[in-house]
């Protein structure tokens, strides 16, 4: 057995467990703002992910226990579930999760080998294939007359007999959808923002959710589970790109704060773009990776065919990772003559 003979306490399982724990404040706010439907989505995605993971491990001849208990499948499931509309039908959740675990993760070689972020691959497949179902968002409870209980939410998700009127009463366009639709109708941003769905920064409720993800992300950073480069560069990319466009024409482009506080941004910046497997690893590479993802998010939101661009932006940057890493290799000890000592 080779040196060293001692290990730090941290394990992959612990890293993943912290990521899950850091998502909990976001999930709590989600329930408070939009109702308990998300709990059904999360549970369904978790079960699907674990079953798919176990089946794939068996098929690939890997031992189930060390890989099932590393919690990485559950992280993927939760990230996907939190990106999906809260009242998405069950088969949508199952399809997305299966695609994420089976194709994006295991067919690429399993833990540590996937080029693309599995949750985002699942999301991309769904939004490309089922754009209509991907809009079944529950509106904030504070804006709607009706609300769904946990059982009713489950019923909606599993395709039970829920009156269409009730469903229409609880679903609502997200702020990004509303902005997009409004702009397509030749309204100015200011005219769009008078709609009740919009709050101080983003959408009502949505901004709280974004705040909760931000908080969880800062906890991960404080624990050194994630580094600061990716989230900061990601947020900076969004802020600068949106700010530039907004400054250029405030009537046609949303304000930078609005873009930052769409919940997918905070989730993406702190939990998805920071995925180490599919992201850049060098310090400068992380900055480029994050900034590029932020920039692409705004570009896709503004000129792309989908209301949100976080998933596609991250996937596109995933493609660039090998190149980024290769060209951002840091200087090693003693490589250049640069010295930290003041000139004598």
């Amino acid at each position: 057995m080779p040196a060293p003979f001692i290990l730090d306490r941290t394990s992959v399982t612990q890293v993943m467990a912290w990521v899950l724990a850091a998502l909990l404040p976001g999930i709590a706010v989600y329930v408070w703002v939009f109702g308990p439907g998300i709990l059904v989505t999360l549970s369904l995605a978790t079960v699907t992910a674990l079953v798919a993971e176990a089946a794939m491990l068996k098929a690939r001849g890997y031992p189930a226990k060390p890989f099932l208990t590393d919690l990485s499948a559950i992280v993927t499931a939760w990230l996907l579930a939190l990106s999906l509309p809260s009242l998405a039908p069950w088969w949508l959740i199952v399809t997305g999760t299966l695609f994420a675990i089976v194709v994006a993760k295991h067919l690429y070689g399993g833990l540590g080998q996937n080029i693309f972020n599995p949750a985002m691959v699942g999301y991309a497949v769904l939004i490309v294939s089922f754009p209509v179902q991907m809009t079944q968002w529950a509106g904030p409870l504070s804006l709607s007359d009706a609300s769904l209980t946990l059982a009713q939410s489950a019923s909606v998700i599993f395709g039970g007999d829920v009156p269409r009127a009730t469903l229409d009463a609880v679903t609502m366009a997200t702020p990004l959808d509303a902005l997009r639709t409004g702009l397509l109708q030749q309204l100015t941003v200011d005219e769009i923002l008078v709609q009740p769905i919009f709050g101080h920064y983003g959408g009502i409720g949505f901004e709280w959710l974004a705040g909760a993800f931000l908080f969880g992300g800062l906890v991960l950073w404080a624990l050194r589970i994630i580094s600061w480069q990716v989230p900061l560069a990601f947020l900076a990319g969004i802020w600068l790109a949106a700010g530039f466009l907004h400054f250029f024409d405030a009537g046609r482009f949303g304000a930078p704060w609005f873009h930052l506080f769409a919940p997918s941004v905070m989730l993406g910046a702190f939990f998805i773009a920071t995925d180490p497997v599919s992201g850049a690893t060098t310090p400068r590479g992380k900055l480029i990776f994050g900034f590029g993802a932020g920039l692409l998010t705004i570009i896709i939101r503004t000129w792309g065919g989908y209301p949100d661009g976080v998933a596609f932006a991250i996937l596109l940057m995933n493609v660039c990772v090998p190149l980024i890493d290769q060209y951002t290799q840091p200087r090693v000890y003693g490589e250049a003559k640069k010295s930290k000592a003041p000139p004598a």
Binding site: I6, L7, D8, V12, D325, R331, V332, K337, K340, A341
Partner: protein
């Protein structure tokens, strides 16, 4: 103590476990019945035995002489009879035997005559040779022959001398204890180093978790006739690595692939300074050292141990316990497992760390790398260990070298923090040894190819020479036959025509050559011109001489 400190990148904070062994007094280990002294205890050529089996040797007697510049002598650690000279198991992870001299001690511990050296009066090179013959080698772990390091080389002096009292590996306390007990002697050793290296700045770097050692060295420094700056450096592994100590104290990085002396800094371990003082002021060769025996033993402590003492003797002294799962030489971060406890203590043995399941739980199963780059965060060589791992795993050694594999100091920080528990250092060692092996193979192959090509060339030449000889013979015969009866005119005119042609061609060539002669030698003063002509004449003569054999050969054909 107001020195501005610099931080090196990376590093980890493993549990220190120092108080187990540094709170007990130091004991001299009793004389063992048998001493096994390896001839290869240092970097460089192994020592050559100079005693015979059956010979009686005295304590401190030279038994293996240094072989070459980078080498060091070995000595009998006690008096007794040489019982064997040959392979024995040595402290090496491979478990392979190496040449050793085994001495059966006689218990009298009788010293050979020895006297202090008047180092100030000695010629530096003589002093260094003397130190080499006294077996001095770095006691910090690398065991590099000290005499070589004490040669300031072409620079004639080494401005900064750093004494390394870092001792950052967990569990080990022999340097700490040595500094507390023998601060004066250590600084006496430094005085000799300073004398040889011509250093003007003397720094002693000690991790700040050793306040007693710092105080002791500071007190001793007051008594010295030169300035010694004692610096407490932050305790972080591997602060005691030579390169890291250099950066912490001076802010300078040792250039990749170079030595610290290239930037005017030399680094010695405190133990080496102590051994040097014993050598110079008492004439004693390096035959003993302090060894920490700790971990899963009843009484962890430091012992003054004769080189060649079997490790089992020390473990018994410290109190063997049930449940021992293994024994390491060195610390838990860079130490190596011992194949056998009959292996002797050598100059490199700073610690014997006894393992148990509780203290050193078996390492968990390795998972795939998730590219979290924690390893890169802690790497003091500022490498990208996750990429090196990828290349090593794929046997892509070219890329591994591009990513500075050989700057890895194998400190183990990356493996320590890896959440996937991958034995990363092992992969780097594998890659390094593969590259070395391949280079060796390539060199061997190149040599073989050159030899083969030369052989082909030689065969070809011999064939040609033979053919030429035969042709010459044949022509001579033909000429002989032709000369006798024929009229000479026709043949001569034919030969004349040929000669005229050759002469014309030569003249053309000469003219062309004259044209391309460099023009920057025109219009020179006559003396210069004369000089040049002389040189030209000499060159022409040489050319002529060189051409002659060729022409004779041509004539033959």
């Amino acid at each position: 103590m107001s020195r501005e400190l610099f931080t090196f990148k990376g590093g980890v904070h493993p549990p220190e476990h120092k108080s187990e062994s540094n709170t007990r007094p130091v004991h001299a280990a009793p004389l063992p019945r048998k001493l096994v002294i390896p001839l290869r205890q240092h970097i460089g050529n192994p020592a050559k035995p100079v005693v015979e089996v059956g010979e009686r040797v005295l304590k401190g007697q030279l038994i293996g002489t240094a072989d070459g510049y980078i080498s060091a002598a070995v000595h009998a650690s006690s008096s007794g009879i040489v019982r064997a000279i040959g392979p024995a198991v040595v402290p090496h992870a491979s478990g392979l035997p190496d040449e050793c001299i085994t001495i059966e001690t006689d218990g009298s511990d009788e010293w050979i005559a020895h006297a202090p050296l008047d180092y100030r009066a000695m010629e530096p090179s003589d002093l260094r040779m003397r130190l080499r013959d006294l077996g001095l080698a770095g006691l910090g772990g690398a065991v590099f022959p000290s005499a070589v390091k004490l040669d300031p080389g072409a620079h004639h002096h080494c401005p900064t001398l750093i004494l390394n009292g870092g001792e950052c590996e967990p569990w080990i306390t022999c340097d700490d204890v040595l500094m507390r007990l023998h601060a004066d002697d250590i600084l006496q050793g430094v005085a000799v180093m300073r004398h040889l290296l011509g250093s003007t700045e003397i720094l002693v770097g000690i991790e700040d978790n050793k306040p007693e050692a710092i105080a002791a060295i500071q007190a001793a420094a007051q008594q010295m006739d030169f300035a010694v700056e004692v610096v407490a450096v932050p305790a972080i592994y591997p602060a005691g690595g030579a390169k890291q100590m250099v950066e912490t104290l001076t802010g300078k990085q040792v250039p990749s692939g170079k030595l610290s002396t290239d930037i005017g800094i030399q680094v010695f371990n405190v133990g080496t300074a102590y051994a040097l003082a014993r050598a110079v002021h008492h004439g004693e060769p390096l035959i003993s050292r302090l060894v920490t025996v700790t971990g899963h033993v009843l009484r962890p402590q430091n012992f003054e141990v004769l080189i060649g003492t079997p490790m089992q003797v020390l473990i018994d002294l410290a109190g063997d316990r049930d449940g021992t799962t293994g024994v390491l030489m060195g610390g838990p971060m860079m130490g190596m497992p011992m194949p056998d406890l009959e292996v002797p203590v050598v100059k490199a043995t700073n610690c014997i760390l006894v393992q148990s399941k509780e203290l050193f739980p078996p390492l968990p199963r390795a998972l795939p790398c998730i590219r979290c780059a924690r390893c890169a965060d802690v790497c003091p060589a500022e490498l990208q260990p996750q990429e090196l791992f990828r290349f090593a795993q794929a046997d892509d050694f070219g890329r591994a070298q591009e990513y500075h594999l050989f700057d890895c100091i194998e400190c183990g920080c990356c493996s320590y923090v890896c959440p996937s528990h991958i034995p990363l250092v092992d992969f780097y060692r594998y890659a390094k040894s593969e590259i070395w092996a391949r280079e060796k193979e390539k060199r061997a192959a190149d040599l073989a190819r050159e030899r083969h090509e030369f052989r082909l060339f030689r065969l070809e030449r011999e064939k040609k020479e033979k053919a030429d000889k035969l042709a010459a013979k044949a022509q001579a015969k033909r000429a002989e036959l032709a000369a006798a009866p024929k009229a000479e005119g026709a043949a001569e005119s034919e030969a004349d025509a040929k000669k005229a042609l050759i002469a014309a061609a030569l003249a053309r060539a000469q003219a062309k050559k004259a044209e391309v002669t460099p023009r920057n030698v025109d219009h020179l003063p006559p003396d210069k011109q004369h000089e040049i002509e002389e040189i030209e004449a000499r060159r022409a003569k040489i050319r002529e001489m060189a051409r002659q054999p060729l022409e004779t050969e041509e004539k033959k054909s």
